[in-house]
């Protein structure tokens, strides 16, 4: 009888637990939705290591499409404008279109399978509440089940669902990178005057952009495989794409675990390349490149350096 009660208790606990997890995952859906559908503008601080940088961001939606402008406030002037799957970078008085994705969903949001992947690979925890930039937030922690990926901690505005602060932590609980809003305006009243000018800019730029730079890749099945991906990373994309500064198209494979992504780039190596191997990083992103059998491999991801190295060393050609 006692045992039976115990079993019942466990089942109830499990049920309650599942409901809690579900409510945290619901938060994520809200975040994904809010980040695309809400008008906002504000100032945020981005920090990694000893590097601190302030930027201004504005995001508005108009006629079912999004406009977004990211502007640096420290150091050399840099600006990124995103609209309808197209990205322009303004840097050193030059404007370049760097990426465009034709046929991308207008308002992408977390897909159900992405959410379930997230739940499989991370422990989603309620980490209480807090205040960021004067707004009340709900804190959620994603703890990975292995050391091959980072922990993520996010602060979500309780009313709008916007992400107001985000921290990436390593296995020693040290902050690898973080960004946090210091000032934020939500909803109507956000300045929209720049939209018209960016539209005009987009139009003039379209003529200037060389066709070779148009980076619409085509889906392929190249025969390259990665053997040692951390568990839970699934291939989300494999394209043969043109790339800035490269003559030949580059193969890009993207793997994701619901929260972090790893890209593997494969291309023939330049014969005059003397930089054969190296690891570098920017904030939570690690990049490892290596020339193997006259093939240049680049692995980039928001994962620890050991992971990008492990992934690169397991790339091989399996044949078609």
């Amino acid at each position: 009888m006692k045992l039976w009660l115990g079993v019942c208790g466990l089942l109830l606990a499990a049920n309650a637990c599942a409901a809690e997890v579900q409510s945290r995952l619901d938060w994520l859906k809200t975040v994904a939705f809010a980040s695309h559908q809400t008008d906002y503008s504000g100032v945020f601080v981005y920090q990694y290591g000893s590097h601190v940088e302030t930027s201004r961001i504005a995001h508005v939606t108009e006629k079912d499409s999004e406009y977004e402008k990211l502007e640096s406030m420290d150091g050399p002037k840099r600006e990124i404008i995103r609209h309808h799957g197209q990205v322009w970078i303004f840097s050193n008085h030059k404007m370049v279109q760097v990426d465009s994705q034709q046929g991308k969903i207008r308002f992408p949001s977390l897909l159900p399978d992405q959410l379930s992947a997230l739940n499989e690979n991370y422990q989603v925890k309620d980490a209480g509440t807090g205040r960021v930039a004067g707004y009340n937030t709900q804190i959620i922690l994603f703890q990975p089940k292995d050391t091959l990926r980072y922990s993520h901690k996010i602060w979500i505005h309780t009313d709008s669902g916007l992400l107001l602060k985000s921290e990436v932590l390593n296995d020693k609980n040290q902050v690898v990178e973080q960004y946090t809003f210091t000032q934020l305006q939500i909803g109507s009243g956000v300045d929209r005057s720049w939209i018209a000018s960016s539209n005009a800019m987009g139009a003039t730029l379209k003529d200037e952009v060389k066709p070779s730079l148009n980076p619409t890749g085509k889906s392929v099945n190249s025969g390259w495989v990665v053997d040692a991906l951390p568990s839970g990373f699934k291939k989300t994309m494999e394209v043969l794409r043109p790339m800035h500064g490269k003559h030949a198209p580059v193969l890009q494979m993207v793997f994701a675990d619901g929260l972090s992504a790893i890209s593997v780039f494969i291309e023939p190596a330049d014969s005059d390349e003397d930089d054969n191997e190296g690891l570098s990083s920017r904030g939570a992103v690690n990049l490892y490149h290596k020339v193997v059998n006259n093939t240049l491999l680049n692995v980039v991801g928001e994962v620890p350096s050991l992971t990008v190295m492990q992934v690169l060393d397991s790339v091989r050609y399996n044949g078609k």
Partner: protein, 166 residues
């Protein structure tokens, strides 16, 4: 060598480096001495009440002096041994069940891989300008966009004071 031994004790070496170093220590009595002294220092720092010096040597000395029993084992003893084995198996099983239960209740207790992220520091910390294109190409398809929106693009345009503008 001393530095390496210290690094080994702090768990800062990779597995292959560890193997090589253990091999070297095995062959070098001086290094063995260092190894013992470092552990002694560690013990003193952690637990000043019990300090064991040359414990290995003393244990082997005691074992030398221990009388060797050559009498055949009695049946009862065998029985006892079997009982012990059974109860040991039972307790191992119990430990297993407890461990399994704790895993179920608290997934955090799951054994972590003995690998540490923070041990590797990129050699050239800053991403080279030519790698920016890879970063950008990755960013566009990264899952972090779904939640962080445009703010995650900051990674692709962030500057560092050491970097010269192109």
């Amino acid at each position: 060598m001393k530095h390496e031994i210290s690094a080994l004790m702090d768990g800062e070496l990779f597995e292959d480096e560890t193997d090589i170093l253990f091999d070297q220590i095995r062959r070098d009595p001086g290094a063995q001495g260092d190894w013992a002294v470092y552990h002694l220092i560690g013990d003193v720092l952690r637990q000043p009440d019990y300090i064991h010096q040359d414990m290995g040597a003393r244990v082997s000395e005691h074992m030398q002096n221990e009388p060797v029993i050559l009498a055949p084992r009695s049946r009862a003893l065998k029985q006892k041994a079997r009982m012990f084995a059974l109860s040991a198996a039972a307790s191992v099983l119990a430990v297993g069940v407890v461990a399994w239960m704790s895993l179920q209740i608290n997934p955090e207790a799951a054994p972590q891989m003995a690998m540490r992220q923070s041990d590797i520091r990129p050699v050239n910390l800053q991403i080279q300008p030519k790698s920016d294109d890879y970063l950008m190409a990755h960013q566009e398809f990264s899952t972090s966009n779904d939640m962080n929106g445009g703010a995650s693009y900051i990674r692709t345009v962030t500057y560092s004071p050491e970097e010269k503008p192109q």
